[in-house]
Symmetry: C2
Subunit: 345 residues, 2 copies
């Protein structure tokens, strides 16, 4: 019987990494996945923490992702586009392969893009945003998902929850980072309401008949709605165009068709745009990093919050005190480690 | 006494252009302003049509914009950033100066950015988006405004209505284009409710006390709210960072401080990101333009609309039947032409 425990971030990384290697993932897949999952747990984002390990194993077991894939990188001379191909593995090691190169090209050309193709995607986007702010760059990251969201005025699932994330580096501080779904809510939230027998807030979903509903069952059989009405719907559509179609990778309807379920992590591409504030600001008076702090001060000064602050506070605690896991969580890590793919259906 | 009239788009352009030249604007300022104003009128966007002529003249008369400015262009070898400086004139001729160069660099590097600095901005962003889709490029355009919007959770105006616009080229068709404020509504809409004595919808604004209000007077003394809650607020903040601070131009609070009023067109910068779909799609099977049409068909096929369709329908009518103006509108054109800057306070 396991007991609740507090692990250092590094120790948790080693455990998660070992689970993935025991389950047959190669070293680069295992390490990259462990990094994003431990980052989620460390930042008290439980929905993107160790809870996700099982989903990874299920997607591997279903044969929908290559556990031994080795991503490849392609970047033509003079181009500001860096393309990494996950080669059917997870998107995370592909991103890690490309991030240094896109940072270098953003510094050289002022702006550059990283395209991730053919990758299975399951994590939040903020770890990727933060990898670029760590390079002193601003970054915009977006990707499709699978069809669960109706376009504004529509009646059926078409768009994905299509996350949209952005980061601005703050020298000596945690960056300004947001990362949100372009749907009103996540499908998991609707599921939680269903289990709790609670009605949904208005505006979250429509039923299979295309009419607004607050019934979680009806919503799960129907479609979620975009955030912000037609504006959010337009942004979700833009993400299908830029991070699906433009990079010749799957759109949300195609990702759903390929998988046949929303219970596994989806296969699709991803678009990252990196901006060099130094290059953009050059030649005019003013230090953009100092000026940005004045904007943040003005936001916080009137009682509004900057996004991600709760995550950064949790990170601070985790880095000094470690990550606390409950007895069932420790038990689960043990179980996943010993059973590997046999632990999942 | 003037009568209602129907003018060809070209004839209307000549009239508007002449008004600006008579008022002392140089040829490039006058022509570029006439183009965006006539485009608005042609597309039945009355709020960005000839109604705007007076605002232009007021801003000139107030000495807040240089009527004889000649924009300049700067683009370092190998850079994917093209910088145009409006030199204190309007942003529109500066954009026109840079659009060909940024299109060329987007084709060369795959992605490129156009920065407009030191320009007075008063038009919609879709004419700029469409200038880039005409080059076969996808484009993202954003700019600050002046402080009229409280950040989500805040109590005072800080952000601008910060428009966010995007376009995707559709060979042989009008492009996919959206262009919206990141506030719930425009300040003009609140003013219209005030004049009509109608309460505002919930969620549009807060009063000077920071509390939600549906009273237009209280809203005008308070602040508008971002669309989509904290998500729209985050996008509005991103626009301040990328299209204000990063390009070392004015943020919305700084633009308001410079002008001292929201009755004149604001001075600030603008950021345009241009993507070459060919460059991004290259090397993988699929034609992004054909694939995009399938997405649009799926949206329209379920009863949802693509943005800007009403504009394109009006444009179709205008190009064959001309633009119809009322007698008071014709009178006003006449008056502005003969009086020039004396026509405005």
């Amino acid at each position: 019987m396991n007991e609740a425990a507090t692990l250092t971030v590094d120790a948790l990384h080693e455990r998660v990494d070992a689970i993935f290697r025991h389950a047959g993932l190669n070293a680069i897949q295992a390490a990259a996945l462990a990094r994003v999952i431990v980052a989620g747990e460390r930042d008290a984002c439980k929905s993107h923490g160790i809870y996700r390990i099982e989903g990874v194993l299920r997607t591997v077991k279903a044969g929908k992702v290559k556990p031994d894939a080795v991503p490849t990188l392609e970047a033509a001379e003079g181009s500001a586009i860096v393309k990494v191909n996950a080669q059917g593995g997870f998107a995370n090691p592909a991103f890690e392969l490309g991030v240094g190169e896109v940072a270098e090209r953003a510094r050289k050309h002022g702006i550059a893009a990283l395209v991730v193709n053919d990758g299975t995607h399951f994590s939040a986007l903020w770890p990727e945003v933060e990898a670029l702010t760590d390079h002193g760059l601003a970054a915009l990251v977006m990707c499709p998902s699978y069809s669960t969201v109706a376009p504004a005025g529509g009646k059926k699932p078409l768009l994905g929850t299509n996350p949209f994330a952005f980061g601005w580096p703050r020298p000596g501080k945690s960056p300004y980072v947001f990362d949100f779904a372009t749907s009103m809510t996540a499908r998991g939230e609707i599921e939680l309401h269903r289990r709790a027998g609670k009605p949904l807030p208005e505006g979250w979903a429509i039923g299979a008949d295309g009419e607004p509903t607050t019934d979680p069952e009806a919503a799960l059989a129907g479609a979620m709605l975009p955030f912000g009405g037609h504006k959010g719907s337009a942004i979700g559509t833009m993400i299908e165009l830029l991070a699906g179609i433009m990079i010749n990778d799957l759109t949300s309807p195609e990702a759903l068709e390929y998988l046949g379920t929303t219970a596994l992590a989806p296969l699709h591409g991803e678009l990252i745009v990196a901006f060099s504030p130094q290059a953009f600001a050059a030649g005019r008076p003013g230090d953009p990093f100092i000026r940005a702090e004045r904007l943040f001060d003005a936001i916080v000064g009137q009682g509004a919050r900057l996004p991600s602050q709760r995550r950064f506070a949790a990170r601070q605690v985790s880095s000094t005190e470690g990550v606390s896991l409950t007895a069932p969580e420790m038990e689960q890590l043990e179980r996943l480690h010993s059973l590997g793919l046999d632990a999942v259906a």
